[in-house]
Each structure stands twice: as C-alpha cells, then as structure tokens.
Amino acid sequence: MRRVVLLALALSLQTGVAAAQEMRPFTTFRQLHGETRLHASLEYAAGALRVAPGRPTELYRMDLAFDGERFAPISDYDAARNAVSLGLRRGGTGGVRVVSRGQLQQSANIAFAPSTELDLALNLGAVDADLELGGLRLASLDLQTGASRSVVRFSRPNATRCRSAELTSGAAELSVVGLGNSRCDRVVVEGGVGSVTLDFGGTWSSSARVNVRMAMGQLTLRLPRRLGVRVTMDKFLSSFDPAGMVRQGNTFTTPGYDRAERTLDLEVTAAMGGVRVEWLEGGGEKE
C-alpha cells in the first residue's frame, strides 16, 4: 500500500515538475528588401520543426517556443553574405531534462520568401521535422539529421533549378516525398540506422541522378511508372526486390528505360537491411 502511495506521489511530483517547464516565445523576421538570394543555415537541437514558404514581403521568419533554461535561439543575419542563421541550440544552466516526446513542447515554424533563391542547410538533433519545400526557389539543400523523424515534402514544383540535394540521416526516420518536384540535378542520400523512404513522385522536368548509401535499415523507393528507371545495386547482406525490373548484372532497369523521355538513374549501396520498390501510378498515386 505504501509503495502505491509513494509511486503515485512520485508520479504526481514528476508531472508537476514537467508542467512547470515554461516555454518562451521568440519571433524573428526580416523584411524583404529586394534580396534575390539567401543562404539559410538552420540548426535545431530538439523539438518540433516546420519549414514552409512564407509571406512574399518577408525574407524569412521564425516563430519559436523554447525552453529558456536549456536552449537559446539562434537568429543572425549577415547582410554582406546574404546569409542567415536560425534555430535553437543547447545552452543555459538547466541541465538535461528527461521527458517524453509529448512533454517536449519546443516548436519552431520557419518560413522563407517564395521569391528568393534559397540555399538551405539544416542540422537537426532530436527533432520531429516537417519540411515543406515545395513552392520555394530552392537552389540547394543540405539536410543532416540526428535521432530525428523528418519528412521532406515537395508538394509543389520547385520554382528554380536545384543544383543538389544532400540528405544525411543518423539514427533516424527520413521520408522525402515528391522528389520529382524538387528539380534537383543530383540527389545524394546517406542513411545510417533507421528507415529511409524516397518518393520520386511529382512533375519531372528533366532526368536526374540519385545516389543512395544505406548503412543499416530499410530503404523504400517509390518510383513513378512513367519514368525510365535504372537501379545500380551494390549490396552486402541486404535484400532487394526488383519488382518487375529487368536485371543485367548489378543493374536493374524498367522495360521502357531506353525510350523514356525522362530517366532516373539510381545508384544504391546497401550494407545491411532491405531495399524495397513500390510503384507509383500517374501523378504519384501508390500502386
């Protein structure tokens, strides 16, 4: 009986402490003064993160709620380089807080001007990230995630040509949806431990090369049927289901690859885990 009472007391005290966690709201933005290019660097240690296109009158905006005892906001614009650093880094004197995901209420909404060419670099820690990059003028993307769950979406076509997208995930779950809309000439994905889903749906305006390196985990490739796809597979202790592709050595091609107007060349290196192919019909519907 005493144990139950003590347990209940401890739980109630813990709840009280957790409830006392005070979030500080912080906002930063900059008016658009005709800038045509922006180098944005996002460092976000922990919490929920949303990135999306913003207002046309603002170069960028970040609305943040953070734990003032343990974190400090980053907000620094360098006019000479047209570069901005945004996000949240560990700091303060509060020590380490052990809380459940539900109690970690830090959140950030970051928006960029849809008319400015954007070089975006993100470094994410323990983050639940939803990055909507469709509708931006994304010139390059560099995403590095730690123990996070990230979804990168290109719901609308990129307004400019993207030189490259480099996505590196640690012990993470990473999904990239609508890569066809990204208009990236080169895509490099490095997966550590966890699962990576690459959805190549969207509007393809040109051919593309994608390089995927998976250490340990599940890789899911969602490929549009109308696209000519060639997969060059280098695997070790990994399974691969070609799902209707024709095999020639380590290369797997779709039947109409040579005649296809747009082609997608995938080089996949998988150490341990599995590679699965799912086919998308028409505009990106999964089969």
Binding site: M1, R3, E22, F26, R30, Q31, Y77
Partner: protein
C-alpha cells in the same frame, strides 16, 4: 451633433492629457501640435484597453552610469537571451534609480516616440515603455517591457529587439532583423521570501488540527460503513480479533504482492488483445479495490479494538450506553488517534517527538496491515472462516437448540455426519 461632441472631447483631451513620450525637448524636436493632439487622443483610447501601457512610468531619460557603472552595448542583438541577461542587473539596481550607459546611443524610461520629422542616431533603448517610430532611427532599437510600433513612413536602419513586448510594423521600413522575445525575466518579481518557520505553539495547533481532521474523516467513513455494510464490517472485525497473526501475515504478503499482481493484470490484459479495451477500467478498479481494502480494514481494526474494550468494561460491570458498532468504532478510532495526538502535542520535543512519531507510524502501519489482511482473508467480509464463528447464527436460536442436540450422545447419533455445523468451512 456627434461630430461636435467628438471635437469637444478631442480638445478636452488635448488640454487634459499629459503629453506622451516625446523626445526630450533639448535633443529631439517634437512634431506639430495637431499631430500630437491626435496621437494623444488615440493613446487615450488605447489606454482603455491596455492596462500595461497605463502602468508605464513617466517618460524620462535614463541617466548615464558613472565610470565603471553598468554599460550595455546594443550593437549586436543576435543573442537576445544573452543581452537580456546583461540588461537585467543594470535595469534592476538594488537601490536608487536606473543608471545605464548605452555606448553611442540613448536610453529612455517610459514611452518614447520618434516624430516624423525627427532623426535619432545610434542605438536606442526604451525601458518599460513603447517605442513609436514615425521618423528615422539610424541604429538598433531595443525595448524592455514595451512594444515597438513602426508607423508608415518610419524607418529603423538597424535591428529591433523587443524583450517582453511585440513589434508591430504598420507600414514602416526596417532595415535589420526584427526579434521578439515576448516574455522577459528582467522585471520579474523575485520569488517570495520563505515564510518564517512556525513556532512550537503554532506547530502544535496545526498538527492537532491535521490529526483531528483525518480522524474525523475516518469516523465519517466508518459510520457510513456501519450504516450500509455492517455485516461485512463485523466479519472483518471478527477476523481481526480471532485471527490477528494470520491477518497480519496476509496483509504483509498482500502489500508485497500488490505491484506484481498489478503488473500481471496489465500484462495479461494486454496479451489477451481484447482485454486491452478493459485495461483503463481494470486499472481504476484495481486501485479502488486496494484503497477500499486498506481503508475498510483499518476501520475494521478500529471497530475490533472498540468492541474488545467495551465488552471488557461491560464484563467488569461498567454502565455504558448501548454497545453498538458506532460506539465501537468511535472508541477504536479514538484509541488510534491518541498516539497521533500525543505526537501532535509533543512532536516538537527534540528526540522524543521523533520517537513518538515513529511509534505512531509503526502502530498505524501494523494495524492497517492487519486490517488489510483481514479484509483479504474474509473476502471483504463475505467469508467467516477466520472470524471465529464456528456455529451459524441460526444454530443459536432456542428452537434450533431444543430440536437439534448440538453436543453429546444424541448429537453423535444424529444422521448426516458428525461435524459440528459450521458455515463456509
């Protein structure tokens, strides 16, 4: 008519209201009187909705600190929390007015505005007031406990930081970055000083009140139990009286097995898939059963104590009122309370107080454990196996005893077995 009233009100306000936040006469020329009048009017209207604004101190310049005094550089606003930490000691002096140096800039207390024809050069700090920018500010702007309002035509070439306020861009131009930290700890009230410890008399009264309150609550619950569950209470009480050791052992074992049983219940329900739906109810019911078992058992112990005491008094020829369960319970709870009352009265005595408290706790735990065990043994007063009731109540009637020999040769010859009639064994 309405227009005339409005004009009259405007004129009246213009005459009556204090001028806002204008720049200091020497350094910042003010705008036209008409504009000032209109602004005062809208400020007055806004005051009705904004208590915080009304609480702003009278606009004034913050004096520069003497050499070696507090100085805060506002040239870099990229780390708002660090700047906040630097501003806090400077803006909350232990004594005297605020004195602060802003290198190359200006510091103001209360509302402040830059008129449309004015131009301010260098960083500007506005403390406990709003900064209204109609003109040009060539530098950074920081407000503490106040808003920044950039009006149409207004210009701020540098960054803006509002600590404990907001930035409202009504159509002006801001060359730098806008940052808002809506809550600030700079003027947060320090935590209330700890109350002085109560003296011995206060402690005694507080503890007495606590003990009396707890036992009155127990008495109320006990009376309810007597009224609505008397047979069960009596069975548990008799189990305590007749099987004290067994009840204590069972209670001890029950306490040890409480958590494992709970774990098994949860795991079992989860594994049975369909039982997952019942899980929340099962958890609640389990908790309630434990509380009812422990509380009911404790009250049954009190009942048993009272009953034993009163029966002994009656046996000695004492004249008491009707010996019923209410009386048993009252007497038993009084006895149990006496230990805690002793602690309440003498608990402040150095060593003895701790000993009394330890004894009270030990005895209470012992009796509660016994009560809990008795409740388990008797299945909450349903089974009488350990209650010492070897002969069923109906066997004790005169008719039954006359017609049915209980002992001796006739009883032994009676067909149907040789056992003494019992119930539940």
């Amino acid at each position: 008519m309405r227009a005339r009233s409005a004009v009259a009100a405007l004129l009246l306000l213009g005459a009556a209201l204090p001028t806002t936040a204008a720049a200091s006469p020497g350094s910042f020329p003010s705008g036209s009187n008409a504009a000032e009048l209109v602004r005062n009017f809208w400020d007055f209207v806004a005051q009705g909705d904004d208590d915080r604004r009304a609480a702003h101190p009278k606009p004034q310049a913050i004096e520069q600190a003497p050499d070696g005094g507090p100085a805060v550089d506002l040239s870099d606003l990229s780390q708002p929390t660090a700047l906040e930490a630097r501003l806090k000691p400077a803006l909350t002096p232990k004594s005297g007015p605020i004195r602060l140096t802003v290198p190359g800039g200006t510091a103001r207390l209360g509302d402040f505005s830059v008129g449309s024809t004015e131009s301010v050069t260098g960083p500007l700090l506005v403390v406990q007031g709003d900064a209204d920018i109609y003109g040009r500010l060539l530098g950074n702007l920081v407000t503490v406990d106040g808003d920044v309002i950039v009006h149409p035509g207004g210009l701020v070439t540098g960054d803006i930081l509002a600590l404990g306020g907001d930035v409202r861009d009504l159509g002006g131009e801001i060359g730098g970055e806008i940052r808002t930290l809506r809550s600030t700890t700079i003027f947060a009230q320090p935590a209330a000083a700890a109350e002085p410890p109560p003296n011995a008399l206060e402690t005694v009264f507080r503890r007495l009140a606590g003990v009396i309150g707890v036992f009155l609550t127990l008495a109320a619950l006990g009376f309810g139990l007597v009224t609505f569950g008397r047979p069960n209470l009596e069975v548990v009480s008799d189990t305590v009286s007749h099987s004290f050791g067994r009840a204590f052992s069972t209670g001890l074992l029950g306490q040890i097995l409480l958590l494992p049983t709970f774990g098994m219940l949860v795991v079992g329900l989860i594994l049975s898939v369909a039982g997952i739906l019942l899980l929340p109810f099962a958890v609640v019911v389990y908790g309630l059963l434990v509380v009812v078992g422990a509380l009911g058992g404790f009250l049954a112990v009190a009942h048993a104590m009272g009953e034993t005491y009163i029966r002994r008094r009656l046996a000695l020829g004492a004249v008491l009122g009707s010996p019923n369960s209410y009386r048993y319970l009252t007497v038993g709870l009084g006895a149990l309370a006496s230990l805690w009352l002793a602690w309440a009265v003498f608990g402040w005595v150095p060593v003895a107080g701790d000993l009394i408290r330890g004894a009270a706790f030990l005895v209470t735990w012992l009796l509660a454990t016994t009560g809990f065990g008795a409740a388990l043994l008797s299945r909450a007063g349903i089974r009488e196996n350990f209650a010492g009731r070897l002969i069923p109540p109906e066997a004790l009637t005169d008719e039954y005893l006359w017609a049915t020999p209980q002992f001796g040769v006739p009883a032994a010859r009676r067909p149907g077995g040789t056992r003494t009639p019992t119930r539940g064994l």
